[in-house]
Symmetry: C2
Subunit: 407 residues, 2 copies
């Protein structure tokens, strides 16, 4: 008998994204792999100034322990932002500050999931939600999802087939990995179905404020009449990820339980980081910062879309995101994105193979492309190399249907 | 049917310490309740200077995502410190940076524990370990512990009674809550017993560098020949807790798994906080800082011990810690520390009732006193009020044995 790990470890593997990111840290690699915001847009100097004031005016407090729930003025500001931009109605007491949105996933997984519980999700869904919730060993059931969002009829039928389903995990706006956004109509119908059943909803919305075009759509949380929607938000994509300041907003009865779980998980999020963000928000206009990020990302998205249009061989499809950081590509059915990645890495281009975003496997002919982290010239050059690799793989796999089977 | 939480939530309650801390945040309260370091000793100005340099020299990097394992130069420094002060032999690759030591507990709980697994611990043990590991629903078995540490014969017999015991959680140096330190001989014998069986050891050592008197004793990790000891360390008590920088040091095979779990839990610890601590350590002598903390805590411990000697009614016992932040008090058997706390809070004095530190209950006549967070005059005044409340409770409970039973 050897010293043993818990059974859950048999199924948990290192995140593909993180492992690829390591390979792609070399400066010569054109990486479409990560979900990294553009670092040149971080407000370094203004955050440095706010930080210095925190040290001068409340230095000892910033370095001491603080409450698990989070810094009260920051919770107030988060509630205000949510009420303004998510169309939600949230009080400061309904906000729990977390160490990244990833921690919101860890805590909600612990709160809702017993081993074997059924969880519904979009297909594909966010890899990080799988790694957080798989610790609790649930059973993932994918619900058919198209360009307008999750299919309400498919959801209804899955909820009937699994009447004990515990939670539904969704990213309705600029989804990771697909870049899709649910229509208003789909959101309404989703909530109608949910309220007829008895199930938690975790609405993950890290990208919602990064709308590059079109009208904004209210969050699921804004339709929540029964306190069933647990909303996850973060400053990582609209401010910076290196401070790890994010939040959960939910019914008080849920927040109280999440606080207990957060005490066990890490006691509290760093006091200094919370005071820094709070001070920054007091002295700066985050919406104005976001308004500067958007044209840059829009330009990058457009550069990627037009390069794809020009370079990609026929038979390859991709989404056209209205915001966020990602688009999603579907290769001909018999191509494998993991094989393609090997070839691309030799060409110093990286992306994330899409198979990892499907909890029950398959869909190996898909991939996720990030457009926020590279300047336009590198995006063009990267897409060129990617397209050449795709063409090569298509040829190798005999996909080029124009070539007659026999001479 | 109402929307349901996971079964584990039935047993998880809000941490008594955290709830009491909230009540005791009023400035008039003399609090012996928390485990807070003395904030007046935080090196605010020097950390502010180091932070400013981080912003100037590597600002964008500090605000971006970084690897789950932690900032490499910080991992190197942590390994060096462990090898110097714990008597351990650890490489930088064997160090995972965590968001507080509490996260080390969360991650090791996930790694080792299936529902129903037996876990051994000291009696009493750290409340925060209970809240972290109880998420996995283990069965706690307390092992007899005296002033020299865990009893090796008792440990052997518990391991025979529970041959599938999965892990042993211990704080061998300046234990929280008891203030006890295991002798060198006990450490050796503990590791002999452990290596005859097949069980993980989690050695939590947040206070080891805060030795107020006597000779330092090597960590359990330094006796670990089979890679079974997972060591938890932190900067919270020797530097400041508000940055939440701590670490796990363990065999590579364990670290690899913990990295996967940390990806799921919070992706990474804040990049900026790691760069701040790293820069601070480069430019300052942390050992010299610690050398300034020690006489202050020694004076406070001594003030508490002599006030207890003077004020406490006969029949009350307490430990005499050689270091750390806590001492442990045992009241006459029929007194209840929770009742005593109610009375003390009316007198604006707070502590943590000891019952919460016993996973299987009982021992309601014990309590934990912190001496690091209050100046000497307030310690004396607080002990005076505490002693008066104890005397009152003893009278009420009829403990004063000098009073004849019949006149």
């Amino acid at each position: 008998m050897t010293t043993r790990f818990a059974r859950r470890m048999e199924a948990l593997k290192a995140s593909e994204i993180r492992e690829i990111l390591k390979v792609t840290q070399r400066p010569e690699v054109i990486s479409f792999a990560g979900g990294l915001p553009a670092p040149e847009l971080f407000p370094v100097r203004r955050l440095a100034a706010a930080t210095q004031e925190v040290f001068e005016e409340e230095g000892t407090r910033a370095l001491q322990y603080s409450t698990t729930e989070g810094h009260p003025p920051l919770r107030r500001k988060i509630a205000e932002r949510m009420n303004a931009s998510w169309g939600a109605q949230v009080t400061p007491e309904q906000v729990l500050v977390t160490s990244g949105s990833q921690q919101g996933l860890d805590l909600t997984g612990k709160l809702f999931l017993d081993e074997g519980d059924v969880v519904l999700c979009e297909s594909p869904t966010y890899l990080g939600a799988l790694s957080a919730w798989n610790v609790m060993r649930p059973r993932w059931v994918e619900v058919a999802t198209d360009d307008d969002g999750m299919d309400p009829a498919a959801l209804e039928s899955k909820l009937r087939a699994h009447p004990n389903a515990k939670a539904i995990y969704v990213i309705p706006t600029f989804q990771n990995p697909s870049g899709r956004t649910w229509s208003l109509e789909r959101r309404r119908r989703f909530m109608e179905v949910v309220e007829r059943h008895d199930v938690w909803v975790v609405e993950d919305n890290p990208y919602g404020e990064l709308r590059l075009e079109g009208e904004s759509v209210p969050s699921l949380k804004s339709f929540d009449t029964k306190g069933r929607v647990v909303a996850l938000g973060t400053f990582s994509k609209v401010f910076c990820p290196g401070l790890r300041i994010a939040w959960v907003a939910a019914d008080l009865s849920v927040i109280e339980k999440l606080v207990i779980l957060k005490q066990g998980a890490d006691l509290q999020t760093a006091t200094l980081s919370q005071l820094q963000v709070n001070r920054y928000l007091e002295e700066n206009d985050l919406d104005a910062d976001i308004a500067k990020i958007i044209p840059v990302y829009r330009e990058r998205r457009d550069a990627m879309l037009s390069a794809l249009e020009q370079e990609m061989p026929p038979g390859v499809r991709w989404t056209r995101p209205q915001g966020g950081l990602f688009l999603w590509m579907t290769l001909p059915a018999n191509l494998n994105a993991r094989t393609l990645l090997d070839e691309c890495v030799r060409q110093n281009v990286a992306f994330v193979p899409g198979g990892a975003f499907f909890p029950n496997g398959g869909n190996e002919n898909t991939l996720r492309l990030n457009y926020s982290n590279m300047p336009i010239e590198r995006i063009r050059e990267g897409v060129k190399r990617l397209a050449a690799s795709v063409a090569k793989e298509m040829e190798r796999a005999g996909v080029l249907e124009e070539v007659p089977a026999t001479p």
